[in-house]
Symmetry: C2
Subunit: 255 residues, 2 copies
């Protein structure tokens, strides 16, 4: 759609082909949009991507996303239907509309418990954001991340499965993955090499390795060095949204 | 359970009867807990209520609610199951587990659109909180509330039904109701009598009158004067959680 390039202020409105495919308004490095890419890819739903420059938003963006945020999902088949927003709402819509493979547990209680863990992952996202974006690297923020992750290590041990979803990733796995993928940028951003405690996070580290082999994860995967490179441009106030566009094959695996 | 009294620091752990009923940890004036009372009452699910003093929380609260917040829902039938938290997660769990009457639309797209509106209602909750709790009454906050409500007035007009859920309240109606009920306290909190613009909010005002007649709403209803009285004690730093306990029949209707 936008050829991977992030459309900015002054750009023409994208011409979305009327081919029945969904159209996802995204930003290549946004972890919330990443959630929706993962669900679409896990379900092998064909879709167009329109990437948005969030620093200089196109004038027409609010036509597709009323709050000017990504992700936003346009459903071309539904006449007059406004786009869907909010990553978790979109993810659940896709899971109900395209049930193969089912990502949330079908049991209401198990589903509720996974949703609570997705909510509780916000306690990890908060301090991670401080470290990644604001460069607030203190023992406090590192401790907050680790304490937040303890809950997930404990949960994985208690479930006794490789993934939170069982023998393959489910919605909880995919909803927390974008930040876990980005945790690999820490060793490039911090002056001291950062490693997660191998004993304390034994199951989570094994889970991370397995997740990297998942087909849906591979579709939109970027390595820690690439995430760190983008983050540095963001910290400098000039996010280089299009850093993968010149030679996207170099770093970006495609499905 | 707690006889309407809010259990505080130093209080004994409540003895929840093993009678198969759900047990809701709540606070009588908390709008988020109110959401869950509405869903339970709309579905006529029998439950116990344990009210919590949020200013001086009981030491045992985190056993029932890991983040020490209300609402938290304990399911006694499920052995070893941790309590459910987060009002929207609990509401959806109840809607799936107890489908009569179904509160969310069954169509995934309509359900997603209602969830987006529930999320967008946060744009009303934010400035309302500033007015109610912080007494930040400025043209700016009043305008923010009104602009946020415009979306809901427009939606009700476009749906052409009395309630967002159709001919009776659905999940969207109940999820936004706690703040709409509390808006009646504005005329007691503000020196100038506050009235919503009758033309601008024609449908919403009619909706508010109809909601007040709904059986589930009546179960947990408090009038604007009572909400305002509690809010004044909260603003003074000494929230009078038990103000309805002495003579609860006087102001609190019961199912």
């Amino acid at each position: 759609m936008s050829g991977g390039k992030h459309l900015a202020k002054g750009s023409a409105k994208p011409e979305v082909p009327d081919d029945g495919k969904l159209c996802l308004f995204s930003m290549r490095f946004c972890p919330y949009a990443h959630r929706v890419h993962l669900v679409l890819d896990a379900k092998r739903i064909p879709y167009h991507s329109v990437f948005i420059n969030l620093n200089e938003k196109p004038e027409w963006l609010t036509e597709y996303s009323p709050l000017g945020k990504v992700p936003a999902l346009q459903l071309p088949k539904e006449e007059g239907c406004p786009p869907l927003i909010e990553s978790l709402v979109i993810a659940e819509y896709l899971d109900e509309k395209y049930p193969e493979p089912k990502l949330y547990p079908t049991d209401p209680l198990k589903k509720a418990q996974d949703k609570i863990l997705i909510e509780r992952f916000n306690a990890v996202i908060g301090p991670m954001y401080k470290i990644f974006v604001n460069n607030e690297v203190s023992p406090g923020t590192i401790t907050d991340v680790s304490n937040g992750l303890d809950i997930f290590e404990k949960e994985l041990r208690s479930r006794g499965t490789e993934f939170f979803g069982g023998d393959k990733p489910g919605m909880l796995d995919y909803m927390i993955w974008p930040w876990c993928e980005r945790s690999a940028m820490l060793k490039y951003l911090l002056s001291d090499k950062y490693e997660m405690d191998k004993e304390r996070f034994e199951k989570l580290l094994k889970w991370r390795d397995l997740m990297e082999k998942d087909e849906a994860v591979k579709c939109f995967y970027l390595d820690g060095e690439t995430h760190a490179k983008f983050m540095k441009t963001r910290r400098d106030g000039e996010p280089n949204y299009d850093m993968l566009v010149v030679n996207p094959c170099k770093r970006q695996r495609t499905c």
